[in-house]
Symmetry: C2
Subunit: 241 residues, 2 copies
C-alpha cells in the first residue's frame, strides 16, 4: 500500500512520485478532498474506490477503509491510498499504516503538500516571514476549546509566539478566537481565512482575530478552510520592506 | 518570477507544477538544499544560477538573490526561484516576493512539500496521530531559547499540547530540550531527529527529549535535520492499535 498525499486540490500540486504511484496502481482508494482530476491519469482497468461515496452515509468508517486497503493488497494488487493534503496531517495515515502493518502489508509513504501551509501561501500569506515570526502551530479546530476531548492548550498557544494555523475550524472559529484573546493574544492580531485553497473556487478574507469569525461567516466561507492567526496573516507583498 | 518549493530532496517529491515551471524556465535560481537532480530536466539553454556557490563566501546575501531575480525577470526572462522544501517555511519567499513586487515583477507561487512535515513522515513519524495529538508546532532552532533575538516562548510551547518540530536546531538541541523540560514537558517525552530526509543519506535516531541532543550528537547527525518532540515521535506502526 502506498500512502500518497495529493496536495491541496490543484492536480499540479501532486508530487511527481505521487503521480507515478497513481499511474502504476491497480486500485486507488480516494477521498472527497483528494485531487480527483488526477484520477483521469490512471491506466485502463484500475479500480477507483471513492470512500467518500460508498454506503453507510457520507463517511466511510475508518475500519472499512483499512479493510479495503488490506483486502486489495493481500490479493496482490498495488494499492494507492490517495488523500487530500498530506496523509499524516490529520489524515489518519498512521492508523492506516498500523492496520496494514498488523496484517503484514508493506507500506510506502509519499508525502504531499499540506493545505495547512499551501492554503495560506496560495492566498499570499507566508507561514513564516523573517521579520515577523520564528514558527507556526497547526491545530485542528474540530474540537473546540474547553471541550473535554481537547488536548490543545489554546492559552499557551496564544503566548507561544508562533503564528496559528487552524484547520477544520470554521464552525468553532468564534470560540477559538475568544480562547486565544482570553489567553493574552492582542485582539487586533491579523487573521485570514482561506477556503477551497488550490481549487478554482478559492476565496479568502482578512480581519483581526477579534473579527475573523464574523467576517468568515459573513463572506459565506465554508469547509475546507484554513485560518491563519498572527502577524503573517497581515502580510502584504506590496508593503515597504 | 515563479517561487517553486522543491520538496525535501528526493526529486520525486517535487510537484508536477513545479517540474513544469522548471522545464519552461529561462533561468533557474537554486539553493544548496534544492533537489538539484531535477535541474537535469531543464531545456537546453536554460541558465542555472546556484546561489549557494556564487562569490562572497558560502551564502549569497539575500539582497543579491533579490537583485538577480529582478534583473532576469526585467529582462523578459521566465525565472524560477527553486528552494528546498517550501519557499514560505523559513525560505524567505516573502522577502523575495516583496522585492519583486516593489520592482513591478509579477510573482507566482508553487507550494512545495516541506521537510518539516515530510522529514518525520519519511522516518515513520506522523506529525499528527488521532489518539496522540491535535496539532504540531514548527519552530526554527537557529535562535536558541533565551537569546534576545528569540520571539518563541518555549515554555508556552512545552504546555501547548502540540508536537514540536524543530528545524535548523541541531546545534541548539540541548538548550531547546532543557527549555522545554523547564517549561513543564515530561523529560521522558519521545523525540526523534531525522537528518538528510528525502536524500539517500537519510538517517534518524530516537530518544527521550532529555536524551535526544546527546543521542543526535553521538550518532553524528548534522544539518539539514529535523527534530520531533512529542508522543508522535514514539510512533510505531507495529504497535497495538
Amino acid at each position: 500500500v502506498v500512502l500518497v498525499g495529493g496536495g491541496p486540490g490543484d492536480p499540479g500540486l501532486l508530487t511527481v512520485a505521487g503521480l507515478g504511484a497513481i499511474r502504476e496502481a491497480d486500485v486507488v482508494v480516494a477521498d472527497r478532498l483528494a485531487p480527483l482530476a488526477v484520477l483521469e491519469q490512471v491506466r485502463p482497468g484500475t479500480e477507483i474506490i471513492d470512500v467518500a461515496k460508498i454506503p453507510r452515509g457520507e463517511f466511510t468508517p475508518q475500519e472499512e477503509i483499512n479493510r479495503l486497503l488490506i483486502a486489495h493488497a493481500a490479493a496482490g494488487k498495488c494499492v494507492v491510498r490517495l488523500k487530500g493534503g498530506d496523509n499524516f496531517v490529520f489524515g489518519r495515515g498512521g492508523e492506516e499504516w498500523q492496520a496494514c502493518a498488523a496484517a503484514g502489508i508493506d507500506v510506502q509513504v509519499v508525502p504531499g503538500v499540506s493545505a495547512a501551509l499551501a492554503g495560506p501561501a496560495l492566498a499570499g500569506i507566508p507561514v513564516t516571514h523573517r521579520s515577523l515570526n520564528q514558527g507556526f502551530s497547526v491545530v485542528t479546530g474540530h474540537v473546540p476549546p474547553g471541550d473535554p476531548r481537547s488536548t490543545v492548550d489554546w492559552s499557551a498557544l496564544a503566548r507561544s509566539g508562533t503564528a496559528l494555523i487552524v484547520l477544520m475550524g470554521v464552525a468553532n472559529l468564534a470560540a477559538i478566537a475568544q480562547a486565544l484573546i482570553a489567553g493574552g493574544l492582542d485582539p487586533s492580531t491579523p487573521a485570514a481565512t482561506v477556503s477551497n485553497a488550490g481549487y478554482p473556487g478559492q476565496r479568502s478574507v482578512r480581519a483581526s482575530v477579534a473579527d475573523i469569525a464574523a467576517v468568515t461567516a459573513a463572506a459565506g466561507l465554508t469547509a475546507p478552510a484554513v485560518t491563519v492567526i498572527g502577524s503573517v496573516a497581515g502580510f502584504d507583498p506590496l508593503a515597504p520592506q
